[in-house]
Symmetry: C2
Subunit: 410 residues, 2 copies
């Protein structure tokens, strides 16, 4: 698809007033050519770009859209709270309602603190862990994304070695690597950070090994260190509870964001009782952390999470999509690697180290009205219907056909 | 004022699920006893607490409320954009409109990047300055607040010496202290951070000395370092342009937040042309940084900033309030120190090292329906009328009288 002169002009205007024309995870620079950069509208499971073309959206705003864009009940909660008050000189009582709701839902949590970015929550976990233990070392899985603050950004340009002086790395799901890193930290080990499962970008996803999760917990107990689970990306797409609570492994702290209010800006740090004092001693704040509208939206989102069959639905829809892709790939004689939970699909091609096949496949799907990512896990939302999946699979079928035609060139 | 059983029960519920019952700058722990912690409604210049009592609000949500809570035109822009799309898989074209608006208004700025917290913008300035210069040292004024990330939080609990290994401190408005700090940084000086004026908490405010601003600029030129102006707190309450642009001193980077969208969550880093490349090379992002609703609200807020007489109005209103307080203080034989711009009043009492007089005065004013801060600069908003000020001054008159009665006890 060639972009229209209007879309190109808009991108040119953007380049004049925004470095590179865009930045961060929503820049289209790394995506295949022709991906639209700007969207004028979103509804249910669909996006409309600045040329008015519509797409079935498998990215869900990179996660936040859990229940469908423009969700009527969440929207009603937003409007009702907006008529009362949003960013005020103090918080609204809805903040207490929201904290109670989360503490009621997440097994390991006894208290909550709210913020805006996922990285606000992971940085709060870091300072609370260091304040509680009086220790410095933090273990993170190599290549895991825990935000883009100075100590955890995946791109160190502009940061210093000191920013991650006490961050040590282990390999996810590898008990030996974890033992080595923990030994290296020794009596200075403050916390181990982990994602619910391995959802790194550009690579196959890996389910968490239950024994591994147990050994993370055991090492934390042995060292008097804290287990921090980063649920920002995967929260509520695996479970209505904490992701490892299902496995019987309780985190000490967990970080939440993205889906919490179905797109309204809010994130959270949840913690166990023993960390109350440390959490009360650190100073963390932000201009909009106490705003009531995203909290009201979160209360309604959590109610729907508790009361609806959204979880079964996104797993069923995700499974149908995965099975459909597998069948198409087999029919076209293409080898796919589909990994991760079906509600957060990752689709990669065999023998595609530079993502040329994946890029071309996604590009054709996009030209046919389906927004897929060639290198990032995608996100199923609860507004998706069988008809959406049928329509998406029609587009991917065309994409497989086109891909096969150009196979030898890629 | 005794708080009602309902308010006390709410605070008790809060303490069960939020460490200390609240955190950050909106915690009432440091405020005089009886300050309400929770608010159910805000409109224009007034707040209603969880007991339904109303207050004329001189804190403006700690800044964001520039034009009045629940502003009809900003609210209409919010509703219109919300019907289209907010947090989507890509930004809306309104992001380009907003970047153009800011670049058009702020003399030193050639580009813009948007984020959520003020601290997101100051941390972006830090990494862009280090990326551009390849140097490490950052100069900050002692006791200045530039956010609560690891490298700049005013309370170091849970942080490490490494987090601020290359941060050096100078005294605001003191050219000798600045020279000493710059010499100490030597050829490793990346940037000097400054606030538009000295608006530290718990102390008298200090207007910027124009010669001092010029010497900051000169030292930056001499060292090949960058001047970063932190407009998060004072932006658009001093000027429709950058605060130092008025003085003929151009910043290289400036950080904005709070008022940008009259309470909708958005902050920004603005920069000069020469920093485009560095800004394009760092990785900075957040789940909600591309959301369209706060951007649409910011576009409308900026339009009103350009087209209305809000700036003249908040200065007139602020001057009337200041003059009224001075007259009352004189009548009651009390010595006040009123400092800072009239649009951001700081009111402190002479001979009050522990803020006992200020606390009692604010407490009585609060009991009489006026929310004042005993230790933080306040914020005038454009919805304030002469009648509001008259009403507020009636309350402060009672407060002075009560204060005098208990003077010898404080």
């Amino acid at each position: 698809m060639l972009q229209t002169p209007a879309a190109l002009r808009l991108q040119q205007r953007a380049r004049a007033v925004i470095p590179n024309g865009m930045y961060g995870h929503q820049s289209t620079v790394k995506l295949p050519k022709g991906y639209p950069q700007f969207f004028i509208r979103a509804d249910g499971t669909r996006l409309w770009d600045s040329d008015g073309r519509s797409y079935i959206d498998f990215m869900a705003a990179y996660g936040p859209n859990l229940l469908g864009y423009n969700h009527p009940q969440v929207g009603a909660a937003v409007k009702a709270q907006m008529a009362l008050g949003d960013t005020m000189t103090g918080p609204s009582p809805v903040m207490v309602d929201l904290a109670e709701a989360l503490v009621g839902m997440i097994s390991h949590a006894d208290w909550a603190m709210f913020c805006k970015n996922g990285a606000d929550a992971t940085s709060m976990a870091l300072v609370v862990a260091r304040a509680h233990t009086g220790r410095r070392k933090i273990l993170m899985a190599r290549d895991a994304y825990h935000g883009a603050h100075l100590w955890n950004t995946p791109n160190p340009v502009g940061t210093l070695p000191e920013d991650r002086a006490h961050i040590l790395y282990y390999d996810y799901n590898d008990p030996d690597a974890l033992e080595v890193a923990a030994k290296q930290a020794g009596s200075d080990l403050a916390a181990i950070f982990a994602s619910p499962y391995r959802h790194d970008t550009f690579t196959d996803q890996e389910e968490i090994d239950r024994d591994y999760a147990c050994s993370v917990r055991r090492i934390c107990y042995q060292h008097g260190a804290l287990l921090v689970l980063d649920e920002v990306r995967a929260g509520f797409r695996l479970s209505r509870d904490g992701a490892w609570d299902r496995l019987g492994v309780a985190a000490d702290l967990s970080c939440w964001g993205k889906v919490l209010a179905n797109g309204q800006p809010i994130s959270a740090l949840l913690g166990a009782d023993k960390l109350r004092e440390a959490a009360g001693n650190v100073f963390v704040t932000g201009s909009f952390w106490f705003s009531a509208v995203p909290m009201a939206a979160a209360i309604e989102t959590l109610r729907i999470i508790r009361e609806s069959d959204y979880l079964k639905h996104i797993h069923e829809i995700g499974a149908i999509f995965r099975d459909g892709l597998d069948a198409q790939a087999q029919r076209h004689g293409v080898k796919l690697r589909q990994t991760g939970p079906v509600s957060m699909p990752m689709v990669l091609f065999e023998d595609d180290p530079e993502f040329k096949k994946g890029n071309r496949w996604c590009q054709v799907a996009m030209e046919n009205g389906v927004w897929l990512s060639p290198y990032h896990n995608m996100f199923i939302n609860a507004a998706m219907t069988r008809a959406d999946i049928d329509e998406a699979l029609s587009a991917t079928d065309i994409a497989f056909r086109e891909l096969k035609k150009q196979w030898s060139l890629l």
